[in-house]
Symmetry: C2
């Protein structure tokens, strides 16, 4: 096991490490002490090769006899994904989807800290949601700078997605989780993750009827 100079992980690797982390937490709750790559693979829905390949980035340290120490591996993955500082986060859009996302925050406590919720609908502005006051979108950029927001979650109507995204970037946001079906046109340095429910729906519709013979599974 060789420790390389730290390098950015690929998005898919980060996704799988995040899954391994959850599996490990679950295992520890159930009293497991050690785990083999094969078993971790099964629980995470990937191949054993993939697990070992991913763990090269962590880095992990297993033995042929017991595999990996569950607790050590978990700590190592945490260190790799960087739980040290919780990035300052804002949510745009307090509709059903926005509220569902806030509920996720409550339950899972990711490496993010929700600092503010913004909303156009005047009926919602001023209300409190999970202990966070809903702010108007009018002085968005000022507020973002004030709280030094780094991450934004975009759960607003399509027609305002691009213009709001540009304001976000202007105000220093560097990572966006985009729930709108619009493909945002932004500078390269901004990380954008699209979570497009509309496309997801159309894909399950397609495979409900289409010839799905040759194990085309996701």
């Amino acid at each position: 096991m060789v420790v390389l100079p730290k390098k950015a992980l690929r998005p898919r690797t980060v996704g799988r490490l995040s899954i391994y982390r959850r599996v490990l937490n679950q295992l520890l709750e159930n009293g497991s002490v050690h785990i083999f790559s094969r078993d971790l693979a099964t629980l995470a829905g990937v191949s054993a090769s993939q697990v070992r390949q991913d763990l090269m980035n962590v880095p992990a340290c297993g033995t042929p006899q017991h595999g990996y120490s569950a607790i050590e591996l978990l700590l190592s993955v945490n260190r790799c994904l960087g739980t040290t500082t919780r990035a300052s986060t804002v949510l745009l859009g307090a509709g059903h989807l926005g509220q569902a996302i806030l509920a996720h925050f409550q339950a899972t406590q990711p490496d993010l800290e929700m600092k503010a919720v913004f909303e156009v609908d005047p009926a919602l502005v001023g209300q409190r949601l999970h202990n966070i006051t809903i702010l108007p979108l009018t002085d968005l950029e000022y507020q973002l700078r004030l709280i030094k927001a780094k991450v934004a979650i975009l759960a607003v109507p399509s027609n305002v997605a691009q213009i709001l995204a540009e304001q976000l970037v202007n105000a220093g946001i560097c990572s966006i989780l985009n729930f709108t079906p619009i493909r945002l046109q932004l500078p390269q340095h901004v990380y954008v993750e699209d979570n497009d429910i509309q496309t997801s729906l159309e894909r399950v519709a397609y495979y409900a009827t289409a010839p799905m013979n040759q194990g085309v599974n996701a």
Copy 2:
């Protein structure tokens, strides 16, 4: 342009065709008649090569002078993705996320027809949501067979995800949109699309702080 015997499209291709479809609809609303692969590419956030590669599956028929006819291309994509029959769909879980998904249905009318909503919480059972009565999870399999459900959307707590998924498959479901963070263990013939908000959150968190130098964009 050669018409090949129809073959299942790959998930990513389906996703992009779904995006092209939306872009084309928008263009037609704005009065565009023709479109070049390069412009479609820009609007969809992909390369022109990618667009032409995808359109080989449709198939499309463009000219060097005007590119593609927007309306013909749209119809062709629709035919390819198969809008003919709307697959019978059910939603499991009527929490915030479930309600947000139902709202998407209202707005976008995908190639799915929502037939029933199931929920454990007795307080919600019996209520109506977007004109659909919320049913209890007790006689799930019977109800699914009754309405010949083909697609299921899973928006339930993690701890019941696997057991419910198995019931779904038993009752003839062949395509699942999985919003839980659990990786479902199901037979190969079932298409499962994971839309894991928790992982999405952890990924944007990672790229908010991590070295994100070499255009690692999604």
